[in-house]
Each structure stands twice: as structure tokens, then as C-alpha cells.
């Protein structure tokens, strides 16, 4: 994720002349792992009933769920960037007592079951939650709204952005920023014109991870936001519900979700290569 520096060997050359590889035995577990991940995807494709596929994925409820998922995931990704970039900056570029503890807490949703996140959000922003009364006085009701979906997604996806960006910030180092300061650039200019451009690949990777995580979010959403077509029922919730009555539809929609995820990752890769 770092820029090539003058004098460092060209990566392609290094690849072509690589004489020392991993030990051969690692290919066995590596292949097993790859099969373990890829085979279920193949199983989904094998299980799709192509005759009804188009009708299933273009039904009102499917389209509504897909549109809602894309809309909410895009919004929560923007929120993740808006909140996560400053968070990563503070974690990577400052030091204060309790910072390690704070970092662990901020990254907690990474290891927390999403349902727990949903419950936590419920008792914070719910009607009878910690801030529920305050919000109600302000005329804001979060539960059962699309906003709740976005909050649930942001909650689970934010740490992905913070982790990858903090790593990028740490490796990009502060030397360029110091140089920029001695050239007369104030902190905001340094941030905008040096720090951000340098970590752009890391930021893009983090944003993609966040988007993918938002797209797949299920537990926190169903716990915190509920499930209503066009409002809170995202694609994963629709898939889970369809499974009750129409396993074929669930399979078809699962494939759509996989395709969207692959598309997003592919687009970002292409964008970064360009």
C-alpha cells in the first residue's frame, strides 16, 4: 500500500526472479482452504433454478430489498468514511493516556456478534434506550426506520475502515507531513493535500470492506431496525425470510448478493489499477 520509493527493487522484477518460495507442503492446506471458501459459492450456483431466476430476482420484494441494501450500504459507507477517517487520524497520529483501551473499544464490533451490536444499539437509541428520551423530545424516532438500518450497518462496518486506514496511516509515515509543514502548509492543508492522497489506497480498501460488511449486515439490522419491505428489509433479511416459503428465491437472491459483492470488489480493483 506504499508508494514505490526510488532505489527499492521494482516489484515485478522481484516477482520474476523469486527463487525462494514457500515450502511446498503449504499448498495442501492452502488449496483446502480455497476449496472450503469457493465450493459453497459453486454450490449456490449449482442450486439456482435458472428457469425462474429472472422472475424471482426481479419481483417487487427482491428489487425493493436490493435497492434498499445498495442505498443503505452506500450511505453507511459514506458515514464510515466521514467518521472513520478522523478516528484513524487520532489513533495513528496522536498519543494520549488510554489510547490503547479506546482503540480496543472502537474495534470491538469486529469481534462482537452483530446481534449483540443490535441489542446495544436498541438500548442506546431505542425508544426506552439511553438516548431514546432525548431523541423523542427532539422529534427523532430511529427504530423501524431506514436510518436504523444505516446505523446498524455503520456500527458493524466502521471498525473495518478504521483498522485498514490506521494501518495505512502508520505505514505511510509522518515524514511527508513534516516536510509539508516546513513548506508552510497548515495542518488542514497537510491533511487534505498530503496525508489523504498518500493513504488513498488504504482508504479505498477500507471503504470497500465497510461497504461489503454493510451489504451483508443481518444480525444487528434484524435486532435493531426490524424488517419491512422497502424500509428496513435489506437483501440479507429478504433472503432469510424467503427461505421460509421459497428456498429457490432465497438461493437466487443469495447469488445476486454474491454478484453485487464481487462487482464492488472488482470495480475498486480496476479503479486502483488504473
Amino acid at each position: 500500500m506504499s508508494w514505490p520509493r526510488p532505489g527499492s527493487p521494482h516489484p515485478e522484477v522481484a516477482n520474476r526472479t523469486r527463487a525462494v518460495g514457500p515450502p511446498r507442503w503449504v499448498f495442501v492446506p492452502a488449496a483446502a482452504g480455497a476449496v472450503f471458501v469457493v465450493l459453497p459459492l459453486a454450490a449456490i450456483i449449482a442450486r439456482v433454478r435458472w428457469s425462474g431466476f429472472l422472475a424471482l430476482v426481479t419481483s417487487d420484494s427482491s428489487l425493493a430489498a436490493l435497492a434498499l441494501s445498495l442505498r443503505t450500504s452506500a450511505t453507511s459507507t459514506l458515514l464510515c468514511v466521514g467518521l472513520g477517517v478522523p478516528m484513524a487520524m487520532v489513533l495513528a497520529r496522536t498519543s494520549f493516556p488510554g489510547q490503547q483501551v479506546l482503540r480496543s473499544l472502537v474495534l470491538l464490533p469486529l469481534v462482537l456478534p452483530p446481534v449483540v451490536g443490535g441489542i446495544a444499539l436498541l438500548y442506546t437509541f431505542g425508544r426506552r434506550g439511553l438516548l431514546g428520551h432525548t431523541l423523542e423530545v427532539l422529534g427523532i424516532q430511529v427504530a423501524f426506520t431506514t436510518a436504523a438500518v444505516i446505523m446498524a450497518q455503520t456500527f458493524v462496518a466502521l471498525p473495518f475502515l478504521v483498522v485498514s486506514l490506521e494501518g495505512a496511516l502508520r505505514t505511510s509515515g509522518e515524514r511527508y507531513e513534516a516536510v509539508a509543514a516546513t513548506l508552510g502548509a497548515g495542518p488542514t492543508t497537510v491533511f487534505r493535500r498530503v496525508t489523504l492522497p498518500l493513504v488513498l489506497p488504504g482508504l479505498a480498501a477500507g471503504a470497500v470492506l465497510s461497504f461489503a460488511r454493510s451489504l451483508g449486515e443481518f444480525g444487528a439490522t434484524i435486532t435493531f431496525a426490524g424488517s419491512l419491505q422497502g424500509v428496513t428489509r435489506t437483501l440479507p433479511l429478504e433472503i432469510y425470510l424467503q427461505r421460509e416459503v421459497d428456498p429457490d428465491a432465497a438461493v437466487a437472491l443469495s447469488l445476486v448478493l454474491v454478484l453485487v459483492a464481487v462487482l464492488v470488489i472488482g470495480l475498486v480493483r480496476a479503479g486502483r489499477a488504473a
Binding site: 474495534l107 469481534v111 456478534p113 452483530p114 427504530a143 423501524f144 502508520r170 426490524g226 419491505q229 432469510y240
Partner: protein, 261 residues
């Protein structure tokens, strides 16, 4: 950089593992066996039967020395799907006839299913009833936040039926996957009211208040039970079905709020 990447991967793996465990899956429960159990009877039962069947399982173990009853509680459609995929079960108790019919047509059921209980809908409201709900009609008030089951699941189908019969049009704020999801949203006060089964209200203790309504009798949910073809303990399986349908079984079910079929 490498160490960072490694730790991210580790964190991701942990996250995935935690996520996997969070799905609503079957819970297994067992009574305390006397002596060393030589046989295990596996019962697949609808989630709403958790407490009653656990109790009946203990009674069954007491009456059959050396037998352990193991339960898998989940949504009825999940259970039927698992049995069709070859899950080793001896008995199936479903929360509706539709899913049992599906099991029958898949030819996994040994005998004709027997109806052993029925359940009716009630309106559940938080104990302080903030929206002042008294009847089914009140659920149509736009400012009242009502949560129901999605029509795809049995409790949602029942809810839709009573809506039609009572000619009340409810606009829910959420259509939940399972009746327990409806219940927790009412318990937490997020929703002003929800349509759930009488047994759910009973099981929730004082956390919700149940309101009966006349139209509920038109959408009675019947619970059938049947021994399964692949069972290796056919006699025990039939014994368990008999226990559930006996007077003893009836009284346990009635205590939880289930009506006779």
C-alpha cells in the same frame, strides 16, 4: 506492515467465527439421565414448544430408564428442511399443519400426524400500554407502532387471516421473521403492540400484557406431531408421541396456555 496485515486477518477470522455463531440455530436441551443412557431419542420441535417439551422430555426420561431425550428447537420450516436433508430425528412436532404437510409429502413421516395442541393469537402490549390499545381495531391507528410476523411465517399468516376477518387494516412498522422477534420488540417498548401467540404472552411473564380479541378464534394454529420414518427407535418415538397426546401431556401444554386441538 506484514504484522499489521496478519493481525487484521486474525481479527477478521475471529469476527467471522463470532458472526457464524450468532445465527438463530437449534438449541439442544436434555434432562438429567438416571444411570448411563444407552439410547437417545431425538425430537425436532417448533421453537414455541421449548419449555413444555423440555418438561415432557424429563418426564419421559423418568419413565424410560436409560433413555435420553435430545431436542432441537427451531422454526418449523427449518426443521422440516433439515429432516429432508437427512438430519437424524425420531420425532417432529411442528407449529402448523402446513409444514407438517410438507414433511408428509416428502415421505419422511412414519404415521399419520396427530394434532396435539392449538394456539391462538393475542395482542401483546407493554405492561404500561403506552398507546392505550384495547381492541384489534386500535392496531389500525396510524400513530400506533405495531409489529407482526411476516406473512411468510405461520404467525404472520394467522395475523393476516384475523385482519381479513375483522376487516381491520394494520400497517405494521415491521414484519418480523419469528414470533419471538415480535415479542422482544414489544417487551423492549420499541413497539406499542404486536400480534403473538397466547402461549408467548404467558411465557413472557409480566413483561408484556396480553389482550384477547374475539376474531382470534378464526385463526387457530394447530400443532401436529409424528414419528419419523428414519427413526432407529420406532417404539420410543411412538411412546413420546403418546406421552404428548396423553392427559399428562395435555396438562403440561395447557399450563403453558396451549388449547386442545
Amino acid at each position: 506492515m506484514k504484522r499489521w496485515a496478519a493481525s487484521v486477518v486474525a481479527v477478521l477470522l475471529i469476527g467471522t467465527a463470532a458472526g457464524c455463531g450468532s445465527g438463530r440455530s437449534s438449541g439442544t436441551s436434555s434432562g438429567s439421565p438416571s444411570g448411563s443412557p444407552r439410547q437417545t431419542l431425538t425430537v425436532f420441535a417448533a421453537a414455541s414448544l421449548t419449555s413444555t417439551f423440555t418438561k415432557l422430555g424429563r418426564e419421559f426420561e423418568a419413565a424410560h430408564k436409560g433413555v435420553k431425550v435430545s431436542f432441537s428447537f427451531a422454526g418449523s420450516s427449518d426443521l422440516v428442511a433439515q429432516i429432508e436433508q437427512g438430519a437424524p430425528a425420531d420425532v417432529l412436532a411442528s407449529a402448523d399443519t402446513k409444514n407438517m404437510d410438507e414433511a408428509v409429502s416428502a415421505k419422511v413421516v412414519e404415521n399419520k400426524p396427530v394434532a396435539f395442541a392449538s394456539n391462538t393469537l393475542e395482542i401483546a402490549v407493554p405492561p404500561d400500554n403506552p398507546a392505550g390499545v384495547t381492541s384489534l381495531k386500535d392496531l389500525a391507528t396510524p400513530s400506533t407502532k405495531v409489529v407482526v410476523c411476516a406473512p411468510q411465517v405461520p404467525c404472520g399468516a394467522a395475523a393476516r387471516k384475523v385482519e381479513q376477518i375483522a376487516k381491520v387494516r394494520i400497517t405494521p412498522v415491521s414484519e418480523e421473521q419469528a414470533v419471538t422477534d415480535v415479542l422482544t420488540k414489544v417487551e423492549s417498548g420499541e413497539a406499542d403492540a404486536g400480534l403473538v401467540y397466547l402461549t408467548d404472552v404467558r411465557a413472557a411473564g409480566g413483561k408484556v400484557k396480553g389482550l384477547t380479541f374475539p376474531q382470534s378464534s378464526s385463526a387457530v394454529n394447530t400443532y401436529p406431531i409424528a414419528a419419523l420414518k428414519k427413526s432407529k427407535h420406532a417404539t420410543l418415538a411412538n411412546d413420546f408421541v403418546n406421552l404428548v397426546t396423553s392427559t399428562e401431556g395435555r396438562s403440561v401444554l395447557a399450563a403453558a396456555g396451549f388449547a386442545a386441538p
